[in-house]
Symmetry: C2
Subunit: 213 residues, 2 copies
């Protein structure tokens, strides 16, 4: 459980890249050091140099994942003047992962939560808190600008949206069907914006919004 990692090391970063994909696709209990070593072309022992235990590797995985999320949320803050566009950009983050056949790292770890070492469990909870805190302020901002309608506390809407998006990925992925995600995500966003269903003949045309992963 020694922490020898996280430093200006390029090999460690490649280990994290590979392990991250394994966790998002197969789960933390669904891959081994041998899998990572084979793909990286090194031995298992070499991996143990960078991450003494699998728990250390997992914790580093979550830390990096949270840091990357923070950067992406900051990019949305900087690039989207309207709060509602930040909201759509946020949905796009999830869509992009699913398009690669990946679950959200922490959604996977949430499923396996009770088998994880303590430090990983704590980090998973922090991840969701980080998401909800950011979303809460975005939703409050969107409500203030009049682009969405909140029927309760912004925090509650944030909690519901995170849960809904994670669930949409979870269920859509086995079907290999991105459209399933879109249906659920559109429904979630629509419950805030009140937009008509895309293509439905119920209300006026909704403004087409661009959104990329």
């Amino acid at each position: 459980m020694t922490v020898r990692a996280i430093r200006g090391d390029e090999t460690a970063a490649r280990v994290l890249d590979i392990a991250e994909r394994f966790v998002q696709v197969r789960g933390f209990n669904g891959f081994s050091y041998a899998d990572v070593a084979a793909e990286l072309g090194v031995t298992k022992a070499a991996l143990h140099y960078h991450f003494a235990s699998k728990g250390d590797l997992g914790a580093a995985l979550i830390d990096r994942y949270c840091a990357r999320l923070a950067a992406r949320l900051a990019a949305l803050d900087a690039g989207c003047p309207a709060a509602v566009d930040r909201l759509h950009g946020y949905v796009g983050l999830y869509r992009g992962m699913l398009a690669e056949g990946r679950l959200c790292l922490c959604a996977m770890l949430a499923a396996e939560y009770h088998t994880l070492p303590g430090p990983m469990q704590a980090a998973v909870l922090r991840f969701f808190g980080q998401n909800e805190a950011w979303l809460e302020s975005v939703l409050a901002g969107a409500a203030a600008e009049g682009s969405i309608t909140l029927r309760g506390p912004a925090r509650d809407a944030a909690v519901a949206l995170v849960a809904g998006l994670e669930g949409a990925m979870l269920v859509a992925r086995p079907f290999g069907d991105l459209a399933r995600f879109e249906i659920a995500a559109a429904s979630l966003v629509r419950s805030l914006t009140g937009d008509a269903f895309p293509g439905a003949a119920l209300a006026g045309a909704a403004p087409a919004r661009t959104q990329r992963p």
Copy 2:
């Protein structure tokens, strides 16, 4: 991979009970025959008699889970005259599992999907189809009786609801906080019924509906 199980066997049923809880709490890759054998007080070899391989055990687990679901949905059909009450009853099925610290069996297996043997994968997909088909007709019925408003196809609303509820359980469980589930579930149902947020001072008082696990 021989199928020697599923018969009027009481031991097999106890094996399934124990294994089911392990899967819902720790995941299919998070427990072993040894775990089940220890809790049942038998040897691993005895388990292999009832379920030749772990994949056989897993497939039997899903089959029984789907059968039990069908019975519960039928009970809702029989016990709830109003479609909207069947909807609330359905939400209660999820709440009850989470209250026991369990994830939906097939939500867990959806996360681990890419590590599962083929027969289990197919069974997982059937489970979600079964849920969505039942919900679709309930939602269509509720729309017809005027207790909910659909902004698109009933099938889409069903897909979104299943995904949302599974996600609500997934995220709420690590926090050990049933209230997190309630927040997300209430938001999902509210997006159909249009009810005001409970206790919010935004619209007229919403009718208090009783809902039990």
